[in-house]
Amino acid sequence: MRDDDARLMLAFQAGDRRAFETLFARYTPRVLTFLTRMVRDRARAEELTQDVFVRIYNAADRYEARARFSTYVFGIAHNLALNELARAHRKHEQSQGDLADLGAIDPAPGVEEQLDASRMRVRLERALATLPERQRAAVLLRSEQGLDYEEIAGSLGTTVSSVKSLLHRAREALLAALAKDEA
């Protein structure tokens, strides 16, 4: 499978540095946003984003366009995020939180609309932080980065069926957390 970005990567592989610069400019904000929400540390996310592109740059001669380029990029970013979170767990032994006590989904519609946009963003980011890592990654890649299920499956190293399940559980948990936050 070859998309435009994969073609750019192949051009870089053939020696076109401007192709890499285009990819770098195109993906830096997306990767940085994804990693910031994953590790919840802006400065560390920036370092990890640099790591992602250094790896892409250094491994260019081994690149194969077997999947969409976004799958390749976010796969690396996801692995680095998991390594970083594992390091943080070892250092601080912090729990990602237990969703079991977050309560049932509030069936009442319209609660979100009662809040202003900035407060809503804070609430969503706080709710995201309570998700298990893979659920968080799946929902960020889908709902914020716009990857399709197949791309997410490739990035997370899992199946489309598993992605569907991860997204379902993530969204249920988010809605529950948002409802609890509202209460």
Binding site: F24, T28, P29, R30, L32, T33, T36, R37, R42, A45, E46, T49, Q50, F53, V54, R55, I56, Y57, N58, A59, A60, D61, R62, I76, N79, N83, R87, R90, K91, I105, P107, P109, E112, E113, A117, M120, R121, L124, E125, R142, S143, E144, D148, Y149, K164, S165, L167, H168, R171, E172, L174, L175
Partner: protein, 175 residues
């Protein structure tokens, strides 16, 4: 009001991931099921909340820092293949891989020749070096068996995971 319809399907519908036939069938169901319509509406509102999240922007020196890092690695490792290897084999990794290689060679010789063919001191030095590196650097993880060691030889390994360190090889290897 409840509906026992598969909720994963609702999410896939909102994401545009249902096959045409399944999508048409669900759309027909939604015409008569208020509970599922509400689920669709909630999923869409959640999507709108994500859309309202502001993307994170990089600091002003992000790109110069990246190219400076690439330049440092190229200087350290030379051009072409050397530059790539420089990205993979940092000093720490080179030290670790050297220790791993030494112990692996010692093990191979130990298995194919007399047990005394490998000077015990050489094996101990390699293992101690790797162990010391692992203990000194929390980023370094431990290779505990031959399968893990094979992963070090995966050409894509550096884009997937961290380089590991051999420790207690004798415990993991066949006696």
């Amino acid at each position: 009001m409840e509906c026992d319809r598969n909720r994963e399907e609702i999410g896939a519908f909102v994401d545009g991931e249902l096959e045409p036939a399944a999508r048409a069938e669900l759309e027909s169901h939604l015409e008569t099921c208020a509970a599922c319509r509400e689920l669709v509406a909630r999923e869409r509102r959640l999507g709108e909340m994500f859309a309202a999240l502001a993307p994170v922007t990089a600091s002003g020196d992000f790109e110069p820092r990246f190219w400076a890092r690439i330049a440092r690695e190229r200087e350290a490792g030379g051009a072409g293949l050397g530059a790539r290897l420089a990205g993979l084999f940092t000093l720490r990794r080179a030290l670790v891989l050297g220790a791993v290689t030494a112990v692996a060679l010692a093990l191979a010789l130990d298995l194919t020749r007399a047990p005394s063919a490998v000077p015990p001191a050489a094996t101990a030095t390699g293992t101690q070096t790797a162990t010391a590196t692992a203990k000194a650097d929390p980023d370094v993880r431990i290779v505990k068996n031959a399968k893990d060691f094979e992963l070090l030889q995966d050409p894509d390994m550096d884009a997937i995971t961290e380089v590991d360190v051999l420790e207690d090889w004798d415990d993991a290897s066949p006696s």
